[in-house]
Amino acid sequence: MGRIICNIILAISMGFFLPSSLNAQGNGLMIVANGESIPAEMDMVQLQAVLKGEKLRWNDGSRVSIALMKTTTPVGNNTCEKLYNMSGNELNKYFLALVFQGKVKAPTFFNSIGELEAYVAQTPGAIGVLPESKESLLKIIIVDGKPQI
């Protein structure tokens, strides 16, 4: 029992405090999601539209919740460049402006990959960007025919 509690505490600590770069496998990214109605495959244009907040709801009516690593993390920075074609500063400005206009709910930003994974797992309609990995317990979205970007 004590060992299980220790494991849980360790897991939480790792999820929250490990720098995201330690979890990253390389420069690639993968898209994870939670929801049956979220397309299992998208092309890059569709994905970018979703991640830019241009789609508020999936086809089953569930809300699109965007989960990103903070732009100050290596994964977050990589996400900005590869998927948004923006710098971290530009991405933050982009979403602040849209929120100010009342057009979208801002993405939820995370410090650790574990937190982001847990948020996506817990939130129906969530879509998140993770560093590439061979395994994930979440639904992986195929983008332009590939599981990794």
Partner: protein, 340 residues
């Protein structure tokens, strides 16, 4: 196998913790704000200036209902009670996202008449220039409308967007309408390419005889229509924004009179953070007998914007304004705008 067990255990723990946190923050409320402070040289002296203190609140009340509020504290020389400061509720909107990208909005809105008013609101940190275009001093339209609106955006390949709003209109207050007439605003736009937006809008209202607008009592009932068009492009290198507004005022005694206002803004990003820019403005009043101004104006400004970050922007600007009645004026202004 052991590795997978460990990974699963870690994942499960985080899911449980996230669930607990979600219970705590079921209602997601965020408070942000904007402030601008500046200095200007005008009338041959240096003036330090406090601009606006803008508090901005968003709250997710449920999966489909959210709230947006914007309250501005600004200097008002007529207000002695609060050390010369007045509080204005600029926006208070309850948003019901009833389907896809379509929403029903009720409350006090910024009238979605032109690009500037519907995009920058009171966030000076977003303004490409120090201040608003001259049209905002022209009394062509009420910046705010209290009423109900249908809104949609990013629809189809052209990313079509619309706003259809019915409100109390000119002459009324936020708590009641002064007459039976309602203002109707219809605005549509498309985004045919990345960072490009083209929009047109229409506003129709009737101002009753005896109504008071912009501190002017209206002698005769006025039927008014506004037509606006805008084109904007804010790319990585170049920035361009052009808007034109035609106002048609019609009274039984004088007939139809048109007034016109337009501006053109252009900027170029030289380095990541430096943007030199220029803007020209023009206002022409044909209707000089009503609540509108009578001083035709033109203006040229040139400035330099330094974007320290998305939350901190410094601008230095020179502006020349020429009024047919008020004459010409030069001013140099600097502004430090922040978001928090």
């Amino acid at each position: 196998m052991k590795n997978i067990d460990k990974r699963f255990m870690m994942f499960l723990s985080l899911v449980m913790l996230q669930g607990f946190l979600d219970q705590i923050k079921a209602q997601d409320t965020k408070i942000r704000g904007f402030v601008d402070i500046g200095a200007s040289i005008r009338e041959d002296k240096l003036n330090f200036e406090f601009g606006e203190y803008d508090l901005f609140i968003t709250s997710e009340l449920s999966d489909r209902v959210s709230f947006l509020g914007e309250t501005v504290f600004r200097f008002d020389s007529s207000n002695d009670i609060h050390h010369g400061f007045a509080v204005g509720v600029e926006r208070a909107i309850i948003n019901y996202n009833y389907s896809g990208n379509h929403s029903l909005l009720i409350g006090k809105h910024h009238t979605p008449l032109n690009y500037w008013n519907d995009t920058y609101h009171h966030g000076r940190v977003f303004f490409p220039t120090v201040g608003r275009p001259l049209i905002f001093e022209s009394r062509f339209f009420d910046l705010h409308t209290t009423g109900v609106a249908l809104q949609g955006h990013n629809l189809g390949k052209l990313k079509f967007g619309y706003n259809l709003m019915v409100g109390n209109g000119l002459g009324s207050a936020d708590i009641r309408d002064n007459d039976k007439y309602k203002s109707v605003t219809a605005a549509v736009h498309i985004k045919p390419a990345d960072k490009v937006q083209i929009g047109v809008s229409f506003y129709n209202d009737i101002i009753s005889q005896g109504a008071e607008i912009f501190n002017t009592e209206i002698d005769n009932k006025i039927k008014l229509q506004l037509y606006t068009g805008s084109v904007s492009y804010f790319g990585k290198k170049y920035e361009l924004l052009a808007e034109g507004t035609l106002l048609n005022n019609n009274t039984d005694s004088i007939g139809s009179k048109q007034s016109f206002s337009s501006y053109l803004y252009a900027g170029i990003r030289l380095k990541e953070k430096w943007v030199p820019y220029a803007r020209v403005d023009y206002i022409n009043y044909q209707d000089t007998n009503s609540y509108l101004g009578i001083d035709d104006k033109s203006s040229f400004l040139a400035g330099l914007r330094y974007e320290i970050s998305y939350l901190m922007v410094v601008k230095l600007e020179y502006q020349y304004i020429k009024g047919d009645i008020t004459g010409s004026m030069n001013r140099v202004t600097t502004q430090f705008a922040i978001g928090f």
